[in-house]
Amino acid sequence: MAEPRPPLTLATRVLGAVLMILLLGGLLVSGSAWRNGQQAARQAYDRILLGAANDIAESVRIQAGVPIADLPVSAFQLLAQAPEDRIYYAVHGPGQMFITGVDPGTEIHAPEPGTDGPGYFDAALNGEPARFVRVTRRFAERDFSGPVEVVVGQTLRARKAMTADLMLDALWPMAAAGLALMVIAWAVIRTALRPLGAITEDLARRDPYDLTPIATGRLPRELQVVLGAMNRFMGRLDGQVEVMRNLISDTAHQLRTPVAAIRVQAETAVAEPDAAARHRALDRLLARTRSLGSLLDQLLSRALVVHRTDSAPRLPVDLREVALEIMERNDHALLAPGSDLRLEIGEEPVMVRADAFSLGEAAGNLLGNALRHGTPPVAIGAKRRGGDAILWVRDAGPGPAPAVLAQLGSRFNRDAATQESSSGIGLSIVNSVAAAFGGRVEMARKEGGFCAALVLPAEGGAP
């Protein structure tokens, strides 16, 4: 029943990796130090061994035709440099004739003697690993001639101790350095990850409804990218929430009055005894219901536009096509039957990067306003002016009063809202679209009429 472990923190992971690297390095260094120490110890004690063997070989003399070793204590004092080690020595004459030795019964499995010079070899001494050296001294005396072979050996305790000492001597500073590196790495990682920790803490403490951006100053660039993306996302979410809130509030506000009016008129119609008067009241009720319908359409259209400007992909759109489509949809025939609508577009495409549906809604609203409030003839067109792409609607009238003009484009227009066929919502749609695609709304009284234009940055730079 292994419980799932909680995921490791970033600092733990990085520290773990550093530790692993240091451990691996430490292992390699230890191995190398051990090898060096072993070689040094081997050389040092091999020399002692050789010295002792030479001492003994030197002490061999021929007495009455028999080689005899006057064993020098100095040789054993040399060997006592490894005080805890057992010793083997043997002196043999030609034909393995035993001259002297620690114990003729001890057998050493020596390899065949090689070429000249001292021959070192490893073998077991009474069941313990040991190192031996073989030195041969040749005699050419009157009464004795032939080689005398001296074998001296020693167990490996002192070598091992020296190897361990050398290794430890080499490893202590390494271990200290490793520890220091570890501490430094810890400090560096802590410092590097502190902004992340601060953000984590900030996010953990943050109210779930708090969608304000997180401060990105003084942060590493990578984190700024992440936080920037997050802030943009939160901004969009905030916008969506704001839109929802506005939509609900607008809808409530816009619908309350007409619905109340409809109810009053319906009550009046019910209570009216006179048939003609009732008929008139019913007519008014019908008109009110129609305008309520169109109001609802506009509210929904606006919500849709606001939603799309936030979420729909932005594609290249030709503003001429938007104008053309409005013309072809022929909605204006319903709003103003028999009115004169002209289309003014050039040969060159007027490209923007935006959402075609939203542009269509905006253009439809501009046109609707012109048809409803302006003076025919009404014209719609698209053109390029410098770096701007302009979708415009023009009528021949004077346009709204300057005071009204100043208020136009706010979210809703109280005055306009009181009339069922309001222009406020329509203009707020246009404003939203303009804001969403980085443009603006221009309204200007010009010679020959009033012109309302949606000005967006043109796609493809200046012509």
Binding site: A64, I68, D70, V73, A80, E84, D103
Partner: protein
């Protein structure tokens, strides 16, 4: 031919027939656990110490076997290979033989604070430990030799022998190093220590010194007045001889100090008991008992005027292997017999 004969004798001493057995056997305690201690030490000398150990460990039935050093060495070597009744612990004054046994991987290691507290010269490989401190002394007959005449160093002894050869003729005793392992060890150590050894041997030969085998015989001879001076006698034997007319001198030029070596054979059956016995022997209580028995001499404490640098411990170290070397022994014996032999002639 002399040399070859000596070598053969040595080999015979080195590999005696296994039939040679112990000299005495004493039992301490009657517990269920059998424990066999083999020693070259005289049972009467060491008895209080073993008795105390048996008292402290009532579960033990200690068998104390007293051996001659060469027989004990041969038996231990045989036990090292395959022993039918191996000793659980060995305490021998023939330290060179003990070093040889340890060098031949016949010993079992043991580490304890008491053992590790021993100085390096009394400890080897944690397998061999020097239990006692016994000086090699010059003894003299107090009644026959005036205090002022007593030689306090080897140089004084040499001068005395040269000045009054008549007085000392035939009345100087020392160990026969061919017969006595201890005598050989002292002679060997002397030969390493100083050049006086050769001169001393010649002087001994000139006054027809007597080389004999045994401590007891030498001390008795001195006590009776047959010998005026005996050279290189183990101090502990003098202390136990209870001979009031025998005086002791620690030579001031240098005094050899022997530590009887204790070893746990690797074939021992009661290694733990052996280790306990070792720790007990090194404990202050046992050391005091050993001091009473004359086996531990506080050399620095007694008013001998012996400087610390004159104290030469015979170290438990592999260099003692040289003492056992056949060639070396043959050469020393040759030197010895040459010196004595020349004087035997005309």
């Amino acid at each position: 031919m002399m040399l070859v004969w000596r070598m053969l004798m040595f080999l015979a001493a080195l590999f005696p027939a296994a039939a040679v057995s112990q000299e005495a056997t004493v039992h301490y305690g009657n517990g269920p656990v059998q424990f066999l201690l083999r020693s070259t030490t005289d049972n009467t000398i060491i008895r209080p110490v073993i008795e105390r150990f048996a008292e402290l460990n009532p579960q033990l039935a200690i068998t104390f076997e007293q051996w001659g050093s060469n027989a004990l060495f041969a038996q231990s070597r045989a036990d090292c290979q395959e022993g039918s009744v191996p000793a659980d612990a060995i305490l021998s004054s023939a330290v060179q033989q003990m070093v040889w046994l340890v060098n031949a991987a016949c010993a079992h290691p043991h580490r304890s604070p008491a053992a590790l507290a021993l100085p390096p010269s009394r400890r080897w490989r944690d397998e061999l430990w020097g239990i006692t401190t016994e000086p090699a002394v010059i003894v003299y007959n107090k009644q026959l030799l005036d205090g002022a005449e007593v030689p306090r160093s080897r140089f004084a002894l040499l001068d005395a022998l040269r000045a009054k050869p008549g007085l000392y003729r035939g009345r100087i005793a020392t160990y026969d190093i061919a017969a006595s392992g201890l005598g050989y060890l002292f002679a060997y150590s002397d030969s390493l220590e100083a050049t006086t050894f050769g001169a001393l041997l010649e002087s001994f030969a000139r006054v027809n010194a007597v080389a004999t085998c045994c401590s007891a015989e030498i001390i008795a001879g001195v006590a009776e007045g047959r010998f005026l001076i005996a050279y290189n006698v183990l101090g502990s034997y003098v202390a136990n001889a209870s001979a009031p007319q025998v005086g002791t001198i620690l030579p001031e030029d240098y005094t050899l100090v022997l530590s009887r070596a204790y070893m746990i054979p690797k074939t021992a059956r009661q290694k733990n008991v052996a280790a306990e016995l070792l720790d007990f022997l090194l404990s202050p209580e046992a050391q005091e008992l050993l001091a009473k028995a004359g086996l531990v001499t506080e050399i620095d404490a007694i008013d001998s005027g012996l400087s610390p640098s004159a104290r030469r411990s015979i170290p438990l170290a592999p260099s003692l292997l040289v003492a056992l070397d056949g060639n070396r022994r043959a050469l020393l014996l040759e030197f010895w017999s040459d010196a004595f032999g020349r004087s035997d002639g005309p």
